[in-house]
Amino acid sequence: MLRKEVNDLLTQTDPGTPMGDMFRQYWIPALLSSELPENDCDPVRVKLLGERLIAFRDTEGRLGLIDEFCAHRGVSLWFGRNEEGGLRCPYHGWKFDHTGQCIEVPSEAPESGFCEKIKLQGYPLVQIGDVLWTHMGEKDTRPELPEWEFSTVPAEQTFTSKRWQESNWLQAMEGGIDSSHVSFLHSGGLNSDPLFKGAKGNAYNLADKKPVFEVTESDGGLFIGARRNAEDGNFYWRITPWVMPSFSMVPPRGDHPVHGHFWIPIDDENCMAWSYDYHPTRALSTDERQAMMDGHGVHCEYVPGTFQPLQNKYNDYMMDRAAQRRGDTYSGVKGIAIQDGSLQESMGPIIDRTKENLVSTDNGIIMARHRLRKAVTALRDKGITPPGTIVSHQKVRSVAKVLGPDDAFAEACVDDLKVRPGQKQTSV
């Protein structure tokens, strides 16, 4: 249960809200780099944290993320002409550069300096890996560029996708750190999905549906360990890092690529579920990359030309009751990503947490909310920079490992939980 005022505090991210201010402390994923593939390509509409923006790559390759609407008459610059170093409004020809600065007003004499007085809100847009990142906060609080491992390994080792989810960001994020649902909701896919199957750890998952949880705080957020029975009295541990505000990493399976998510608010009732897959030490195989593109693992298929999942709430996620009865899928919905997304959307745009009934095994979620609330209020009341903004907090890995009966994961896996360049993930 969460009191309404706390629920509102954590779920509202528009400009001027405390949580919105907190998200604006971070570099967040804004677009796939493939959405702006070349200079002077088509501009792309982006909505982030309740702000409607337009992204474009100008003639010189400079990336811009600016207010979507022309400062003159409010026309959407999605209709604009991306040409000769800027984005020109098709209505009256006003032109803006990649920072949002107006650089031409055809009706006014250039010598008048009129256009220098016109500037749209603009945010930096930086390519790191296959993602374009933005920082929507004040320039003087801008942290160093992010160094998440998935976005800093060579291009052949990583793959990122994103999908539109019609729910608030928090209920989506909470799904990512809720390890206990895996043995139920995703049980059908562990031995069939090409990006999961074959791992020895899958058998532990399926054999022990009552994991024991341990939650510890990290500098940037949490480590959530789920412990299941293994052979000879040992335990199979799956350890999920969560870094504030909305990064998580799923524990690996065998030598499959490692995956995880960012959940970035579009507005209070929509978010973008970012899903990455990477291998720390080798290139993704052709089959693996194809499987990701085909929507396996944490990825999904799309309505062509959009980031809306092909299985969506308007077609009941293509529910297959026969598959549900057979046990091919536990919920009747195909695919890990949409299994999660369908249930999280079914909660409603913003779940009313005053009505929920949490139990002890939800303590990862309880602690995450607690840390978010503390960080939000510390920023709002004292100007304290929240955890997760600095690079050292981002250098985390998920872990799957068999440990002895008396081992504490935080001690036994202290090195496994850190990024170790050139070394594989710790996995079973």
Binding site: G348, P349, M367
Partner: protein
């Protein structure tokens, strides 16, 4: 939130019987501070030192008190408990954790363990965690004591 207007508005759960045990003096101080807040029937219980020569792991010898100092009986407290939370700051209460756990297990009640790490060294906290691990189905290490009321609120204690 227009969508929420179509939800049926009714209470979907009954009051839980939560039993929160402070296993040591520091934990008792934390509980004392929060026990006066309005809770949904939660019982805050402090474990007192075992009498000399008595087996601390035996629930029959467990000495408990309510926040007002009145004595409590572990068997009676756990008879109808839905939620049992053990809170500890140090390792001196290992035996009492076992004593409470035996009764809770007999009643098929799950136990959550909470190790309070505020002001403690990592080594001490690790020992606390190790002492609770055999009994807890979920174990949380909290760096600040503010987490206690947050968790209890979340669990409708």
């Amino acid at each position: 939130m227009a969508e929420a207007q179509f939800r049926v508005d009714y209470p979907n759960s009954k009051t839980r019987s939560s039993r929160i045990f402070a296993l040591d003096k520091k934990a008792a101080q934390v509980l004392q501070q929060i026990s006066e807040a309005p809770w949904n029937g939660a019982h805050f219980l402090t474990v007192l030192p075992a009498k000399d020569g008595k087996d601390a792991t035996d629930a029959a010898y467990l000495r408990l008190s309510h926040p007002d100092g009145s004595p409590a009986d572990v068997f009676e407290e756990l008879r109808h408990a839905d939620v049992v939370i053990l809170i500890s700051c140090d390792t001196r209460a290992t035996g009492t954790a076992e004593a409470i756990a035996k009764v809770a297990f007999a009643n098929k009640t799950m136990i959550a363990g909470l190790a309070l790490a505020e002001g403690k060294s990592e080594g001490v906290t690790n020992e606390v965690v190790a002492s609770l691990r055999p009994y807890a189905s979920v174990l949380v290490v909290a760096q600040d004591n503010d987490f206690v009321p947050a968790m209890l609120t979340a669990l409708r204690a």
